[in-house]
Symmetry: C2
Subunit: 97 residues, 2 copies
């Protein structure tokens, strides 16, 4: 569980995909491909992005729903929220007033 999450986060392209989904939820594979290419200047194939999405989905960080021939992807930040708590627990985080 935690292993899949950390492994998914280890790749910079996957983190960029999470960034994009955080900014604009419900994107299709092709939309993500276009953004990576245009906005982030990443020369990467569609299949590569598809495989990245599969890794993110296996880790529970991305969820998807199919509608017709479209598949929409959404970010699920929940698994991230407590993932580093095992090392940051004893010091309580300062409250943001």
């Amino acid at each position: 569980m935690a292993d899949e999450i950390f492994k998914a986060l280890a790749d910079p392209t996957r983190r960029t995909i999470l960034d994009e989904l955080a900014e604009s939820s419900g994107q299709t594979l092709f939309e993500i491909c276009t953004r990576l290419s245009m906005k982030h200047r990443l020369g990467i194939s569609r299949q590569a992005v598809s495989q990245h999405l599969a890794v993110l989905e296996a880790a529970g960080l991305v969820e998807s729903r199919r509608e017709g021939r479209y598949k929409f992807h959404t970010l699920n930040p929940d698994p991230l929220k407590r993932i580093t708590e095992r090392w940051t627990r004893p010091d309580q985080p300062e409250s943001t007033p």
Copy 2:
């Protein structure tokens, strides 16, 4: 910066090392080796652990001080604290009362 941290966290052995340093601070290389072997049943060489510590230190997650022939390692959890905030920001974390 963030890349080194996520890459460092991607390996389960390194996460176990962080666990051990969180539990008992200021351990030497041999102490960590012994704990990994005894407590976690990890058959791993001293050099492997040394290399893991180097990765963790490069990421800023572990700091070390030398005293004589001993080198003491301590956990630095600071880099972890806000590393996932870019995806969890919009939802403020519920306060722990």
